[in-house]
Amino acid sequence: MTILLAIFALPLLALIFGGILGFASIKFKVEGDPIVDQINALLPQTQCGQCSHPGCRPYAEAIAAGEDINKCPPGGEATIEELANLLGRDILPLDAEHGEEKEVKLIAYIREPECIGCTKCIQACPVDAILGAAKQMHTVIVDECTGCDLCVEPCPVDCIDMLPIETTVQTWSWERPKPAVELIASEHQPLRAEAVS
């Protein structure tokens, strides 16, 4: 008798809970962005092509299809970490094959007197950040430049420099203090100020 009871009770319970689960999965379904969009949102959008894809979105699509997440030098470690978190993959070191992470962000500047107006850089720029016309001097719209480097290669007279952005009064900010241990560990007792400057 007890056996029979158990035999009936268990499937009944299974049925009820299964029903609840099924209901919950429909009712509380999380509508997320498509994964490609989420990946793309984490990529730095420099469109530099160092990952050997023609832009960030194509790389996002490739990642969604299973490609490694460590091919984006402009994003660097931070992006790899975010991608790993999003996708539940392991954090990999940056693939050196695709370039190295730069410490400071660089922006393209054209040495304007040397420009011959060939428009090659204009064609190379992935975000239309270079202004100019054939046989006219070109210039980079600094605010639009992503620092992707792609214009440097095609320039026949090598008049494009990649320079760091200047800190202005508006963009300047304090840096985080160095941990005290580092301050003591060095020979002299430096000021916090030196950690700051």
Binding site: A180, V181, I184, L191, R192, A193, V196, S197
Partner: protein, 351 residues
Amino acid sequence: MKLAKVTSPHLHGNNDTSQVMKLVILATLPGLIALVWFFGWGVLINLLWAWVVALGCEALVVKIRKRPLGYYLNDYSALVTATLIGLALPPLAPWWLTVVGVGFAIIIAKHLYGGLGSNPFNPAAVGYVVLLISFPVEMSSWLPARGVEGAITPGFLDSLKSIFPLFGNVGVDVITQATPLDQLKQRPGLTISEIWLPGSAFGRFAGVGWEWVNIGFLIGGLFLLFRKIIYWQIPVAMLGSLLLMSLIFWGGSGSEGHGSPLFHLLSGATMLCAFFIATDPVTAAASHRGRLIYGAGIGVLIYVIRVWGNYPDAVAFSVLLMNFCAPLIDHYVQPRTYGHSKNDHDKSGDS
């Protein structure tokens, strides 16, 4: 001319972490005196030995971590941990017990988690719990307090020999006895008259001696409150909830009655916990309301474990359990920031 370029504020108050730690150690003095009076010199020897071990362990770890030694030893935090463990150990605890407890507290509970300020669990409580679980016999071998019938409070040399057998054998046989809390748990069926029998381990309101020890720690705690070293929320919430629990479940007389509220407040390590262990800011909740919840949780847990659990006293367990909860409490109980409505906050908290 090179002028210093430092960030504001340029002024600084006189507060000092090592000063805070020193005051905490100083505040244990009344309780310590009471302990020494009732249980003999062993308490003091334990304490000093614990200090030596703590400093040794701290120095060892700091050396291994290749950090500046003076900087770390100067904060006195290791001494606070050692003091708390030393005060909680039975008066004649063998020397290795202290080494294990303090070593575990300093090396594993504190430094392996990143050192002062980064440890999620109260090192003293961890050290004590490790000992309690690993060496229950040694840890429950308390002496009967001075004033209990048949109690012999050992002298300094006997205590020393008993703790460090290296110095020779103990001259007298020291009788050990369970603490009043232990007795309440282990010997059910006593009637009120039996419990309050003259010469038993129970004193006027709690255990003989223990009541004064607790009052000693209470005085020290009030001193800390007065000096604004600790904030009132945790002790008040903890003692309040313990009082409430013991009132609700007080079964009247006899040992079946779970003990009176006064008994719970003044027994075991209640006051030591309320003012010295639970108030360790590193492992407690951060906000005002958070501290109230945290303290109340400890009080409830102490009562629950004392009365229905397997261990006579429950201070260390309760603190550790609430240490687990502290980040959760902090997450949900943030104070309302200026210019934010309550709803704002809930939104940001949940996101």
